[in-house]
Amino acid sequence: MRGATPYLLAAIGLALFLGVWEAVPRLGLLPPTLLPAPSQLPAAFLREVKSGIWGDSVLFSLWHYAIGLACGTACGIVLGIATGMYRPFDWALAWIVRVLRPIPGLAWVPFAILWFGIDQTAAVFIIAIGCFWIVFFAAQGAIRGVDRDLIEVAEAFGFKSGPEKLVKVLFPAALPGMLVGVRTALGQAWMAVVASELFGVSGLGQRMQQASSLLATDIVVVYMLTMAALYGLVDTAFVFLQSRLLAWKA
């Protein structure tokens, strides 16, 4: 009974969704400029690919995404571990964190432009900020949540310094929690990609902005789906990596 049923229902659901979507502009309920029919999309997609714009935009955005994510994640993990392990460090940063934490990545756009110009670095900066906080809090919580008993094992076998405990027990024990944070950041970073490119840095976001100002909504939808596909790909790859890293979990 179960076997194929979930897939069948998923296919029916998707078909219904596409059907309604197609019907709305065709029946004239909405003009095609406000809602392009799905059947228009393949042609729009091919046009974008042939002109080379699609490939360039994807590469630019992936580049911003990868570097921003890497920087934000790395800083988040390092500072999260440090504040998680050393209370005085946590106290020292407490108010800085409280002030900076609620500022959304987009609010940094003016400074990003002033500091880096309308440049890739500015986009990377904004993406990194978005990822940083998520990973920072995940890492801090994961380190604090490590079983005291396991830390004692390290101490009992002579690993008494902070770095030794980090390498032998804290980091591996906190890894699952940190990876959950990184996965959330993976999604957050895509939102930041669009935002960071809206003000003129090349990439998917910029192309969407151009298309929407020309009312080329079919192209906007092409890029929306492109982004969904890229996110799906990255997330799937990450889940695979995660399951390899955490193979020890029951």
Binding site: D149, V153, E155, F159, V169, L246, W248, A250
Partner: protein, 256 residues
């Protein structure tokens, strides 16, 4: 004979919210090379705390602990906890290697030593598994191998079998005796189970009172292999019960 360790006048106290609680007072204990000493006493008397002090996880408030510098060993002590406390992300072999990573041994030497230690507890064939794939008894054997692998001058064990079912516990007791007599390992074994203590040990030290003190120290001169219903063992157990019994009237957390 020179002792491996000499504990003199050891006192342990904790300060909490300005209130000072003495856990142990005036503890003297010498352990000879190859000797198997068991410490018994009701829960809360300070047995675990004593082991934590010996391994360096806590500091004593009085007294001295001296190790014989002539004793050849890679580490002074190694501890087997009540719950195995294996690292869940490491495979069994890697868990046994854990303590060896503090030594100068090469990767290959560590591996060989760990494999030998695993073979010593009859678990060579689970080397590649993860801890959650083992039974409780197997995990405790691995914890024993992890401790033995570092070749400690004294093997400390904190109620290592008390979380196991009876059959597994008795099997592991016999296994421990076998391993210990084969290697001549000096052991300090903590338990709240008097029968276990007299069955395993060459000498049983009973702690009681608050703060905890040595109430009786009894040599068990019965050669291994022993019978669990051996008359001399039963007699020693009864003697220890009698001494500790005075405590039961005033202590409600009596567990034996």
């Amino acid at each position: 004979m020179q002792s491996v360790i000499a504990i003199e006048g050891l006192g342990i106290a904790f300060e909490q919210g300005g209130v000072r609680t003495e856990v142990l007072r005036g503890l003297d204990l010498k352990i000879a090379p190859g000797e198997f000493v068991a410490i018994v006493g009701p829960s809360g008397v300070g047995k675990s705390t004593l082991l934590r002090v010996l391994i360096g996880l806590a500091t004593p408030s009085a007294g001295t602990v001296r190790l014989n510098p002539d004793v050849k060993a890679d580490r002074a002590m190694a501890l087997v906890f009540q719950d195995s406390r294996l690292l869940p992300w490491r495979r069994i072999l890697s868990n046994v290697c854990f303590g060896l990573e503090k030594t100068q041994l090469t990767r290959l030497e560590r591996r060989e030593r760990a494999l030998a230690a695993l073979a010593g507890v009859g678990l060579r064939d689970v080397a590649a598994r993860f801890p959650h794939q083992l039974s409780g008894g197997q995990r405790q054997r691995v914890a024993l191998a992890r401790a033995l692998a570092v070749r400690p001058a004294i093997l400390l064990m904190d109620e290592p079998f008390s979380a196991l079912d009876v059959q597994t516990r008795e099997a592991l007791q016999d296994e421990l005796i076998r391993v210990q007599s084969a290697s001549g390992q000096t052991v300090l074994f903590v338990t709240h189970d008097i029968d276990e203590a007299v069955y395993l040990a060459d000498r049983v030290v009973a702690l009681g009172g608050r703060p905890g003190e040595v109430k009786i120290s009894l040599d068990i001169n019965v050669p291994h292999p022993r019978r669990r219903d051996d008359v001399a063992l039963r007699h020693s157990a009864a003697q220890i019960r009698d001494v500790l019994f005075a405590e039961t009237i005033v202590r409600e957390d009596w567990v034996i």
